[in-house]
């Protein structure tokens, strides 16, 4: 009997080992998050939410990340489509370049952006002449978020477009569709889930951005910077409720959006 059980365990050694290793990393992710959320009392969280500074920081974070995602959609999806449909020398290099923002330290990314969009530099000057400033301003937050988060959208959309059979577009052409119509009536509807998932990832990544925004626009203050400031100025007890609130809001939005994407998949 014992020998039999032992044999069964032996037969599943790989599965059991991997499960145990996986459990460690799952706990590593969940424990800090849950501990933080539950260490602030609900009433304290509610009071924090009523603070004008906190509310406006959270609101600013959500909508600047949304703006960055909108810009990403407008400029990133066409690039994703192009990369999915064309082969050209140096394509690998371009693809690697797109992912660079993911791997560079984000404070360094912020400095790099400052060198282009600061008021003493080319793009900064050009935009200044039409009344848009980046340093310590909302547009600065948006481009910092855009820079570090747009790779997620481009990669996801590109993979989506690659999965759309080119022949579907070709058939659409023979049925009278122009290349534009074939894109909007065939490729885009077939790829929307990948684009949507990529947008959610991009938005989430934008919301969580700290380093690049810190360099470009400490003020107006987004929520991650507010957490940092409270920690620095007043200590852990004051940073905790804001951080918990931010995590709860992100989780709710993320779970909601993901369920939309997956519901589409089952249909």
């Amino acid at each position: 009997m014992v020998a039999q059980i032992w044999r069964q365990i032996a037969a599943r050694r790989l599965t059991i080992t991997f499960l145990l290793l996986g459990l460690i990393i799952l706990l590593f992710i969940f424990v800090p998050l849950l501990k933080m959320i539950f260490s602030s009392s609900p009433s304290l969280l509610f009071d924090t939410l009523l603070e004008g500074e906190v509310r406006s920081a959270i609101w600013l974070t959500l909508y600047t990340a949304l703006l960055a995602t909108a810009v990403g959609l407008l400029l990133g999806v066409p690039l994703a489509y192009f990369l999915a449909r064309h082969r050209f020398p140096g394509k690998r290099f371009v693809e690697a370049l797109i992912d660079v923002p993911i791997v560079v330290p984000h404070t360094a990314a912020g400095v790099a952006l400052l060198f282009v969009f600061g008021q003493n530099f080319l793009a900064g000057k050009a935009f200044h002449s039409i009344g848009i400033d980046f340093v310590s301003a909302v547009p600065g937050i948006v481009i910092a978020m855009l820079f570090v988060s747009v790779p997620f959208l481009i990669d996801s959309a590109k993979q989506g477009f690659e999965k759309v059979d080119v022949r579907l577009e070709k058939v659409a052409r023979t049925l009278g569709a122009s290349p534009w119509q074939a894109f909007f009536r065939v490729s885009l509807p077939l790829c929307w889930r990948s684009i949507f998932a990529g947008s959610v990832m991009m938005w989430a990544r934008g919301i969580s951005e700290f380093g690049a925004v810190l360099i470009l626009a400490y003020h107006p203050m987004i929520a991650p910077i507010l957490v940092y400031e409270r920690l620095e100025e007043y200590g852990l007890d004051y940073a905790l409720p804001v951080a918990s609130l931010l995590i709860i809001i992100c989780l709710l939005i993320f779970i909601g959006l993901r369920s939309i994407a997956y519901r589409g998949e089952r249909a």
């Binding site: 022949r167 579907l168 070709k170 058939v171 052409r173 023979t174 049925l175 009278g176 065939v186 077939l190």
Partner: protein
């Protein structure tokens, strides 16, 4: 109807060039070639879906070489159907009609007409992913026909289907061709399919058109080693299938009667693989229904195997291993018996 003049297409690793074809109105034209010969690309070039290197394409007396695909009025059907997965069958059929801005009433009429023609009316509300291969191919055909194309281009339309569905769709194709007097260009790698459907066949290989002719001409008088190899892999005969006295069927080929197993009747073709024929020096007493006496007229030595031509007087090409050949001591002029089962003959 379709004129292709000096067409050259770059296929990356090689060039398709010197393509000259003249396809008549209402003709069922087959382009036959092995996998990788560039058949699909040639078809896409005609449809305007693939850039060409040089040459001209004329459609109904009008040059369309530089015309966009969406303005050519060419129906296209791919091997694996390419139905729009995000649309229902009806949505697929309406795609081209909406694109061409037909009125609602007109769209309704055309959808009823094409679905009736192909017998897919009951599938309208279904999602393409729930259809069988044969159903998908019929829907793809219906979709291509919905725009009343000047020409129908078919890219291996039967290759992805199981044998049963293949017969059904092949029947549909014959009917469409017959009833609509449609001009059809159909590419395939299947020699039998080409012979069964084609009014004329163009053999594509080694980057060019090697031979154009009727099915008879292609398999009786192949003009090159390449075409011959295509034709050699089978014994192909034209004949007439009738009911035999015992309820079975026979095919009469040039006055010679052979037992066959088939539900089909009428003027048809039959094929027999060289490896399905047994050669013996004495008549064989076996379960095989067909046993004929003939003379070896030709021996084609291929090393470990040999192809013998046995004239009964109908010529049969038979495959033999060298070992059997040497043990039997066969020579040209020797009398032998050829034996094969009725079920080894494929009627099409």
């Amino acid at each position: 109807m379709i004129e292709i003049k000096n067409l050259a297409v770059n296929l990356g690793t090689f060039l398709l060039e010197d393509i000259n074809l003249s396809i008549e109105p209402g003709e069922y034209f087959i382009i036959l070639g092995p996998t990788g010969a560039g058949k699909t690309i040639l078809l896409e070039s005609i449809a305007g879906l693939h850039p060409i290197k040089s040459g001209e394409i004329w459609l109904n007396g009008r040059e369309v070489t530089k015309l966009e695909a969406e303005k050519r009025g060419i129906g296209f059907v791919y091997q694996d159907y390419a139905l729009f997965p995000h649309l229902s069958v009806k949505g697929n059929l309406l795609f081209g009609l909406k694109q061409k801005r037909r009125s609602k009433g007109e769209r309704q009429l055309i959808v009823e007409w094409v679905t009736g023609l192909l017998g897919v009316s009951h599938l309208l509300e279904r999602n393409p992913s729930t259809l069988s291969g044969g159903e998908r191919q019929k829907v793809a055909l219906a979709r291509a026909l919905s725009i009343s194309p000047q020409v129908l281009l078919l890219d291996e339309p039967l290759s992805a289907l199981d044998p049963h569905a293949r017969e059904g769709v092949q029947q549909e194709l014959r009917q469409i061709h017959h009833r609509l007097k449609a001009t059809i260009v159909h590419v395939t790698h299947d020699f039998e399919e080409a012979i069964a459907l084609g009014d004329r066949i163009a053999v594509l290989g080694e980057g060019r058109i090697l031979q154009v002719g009727t099915p008879e001409q292609i398999f009786r008088q192949p003009n090159s080693e390449f075409v011959a190899r295509f034709a050699m892999s089978r014994n192909i005969f034209a004949g007439e299938v009738r009911d035999a006295d015992d309820g079975h069927a026979t095919i009469t080929i040039e006055g010679m009667k052979l037992d066959v197993v088939t539900e089909l009747r009428g003027k048809l073709h039959a094929s027999l693989r060289p490896e399905d024929i047994l050669i013996s020096q004495e008549p064989l007493r076996s379960s095989a229904r067909n046993c004929l006496r003939g003379t070896i007229t030709h021996i084609n030595d291929r090393g470990s195997t040999l192809y013998l031509t046995v004239s009964t007087p109908l010529d049969f090409i038979c495959l033999l291993t060298r070992r059997s050949f040497e043990e039997m001591g066969l020579r040209v002029g020797e009398e032998v018996h050829v034996t094969f089962k009725a079920s080894a003959i494929h009627v099409f």
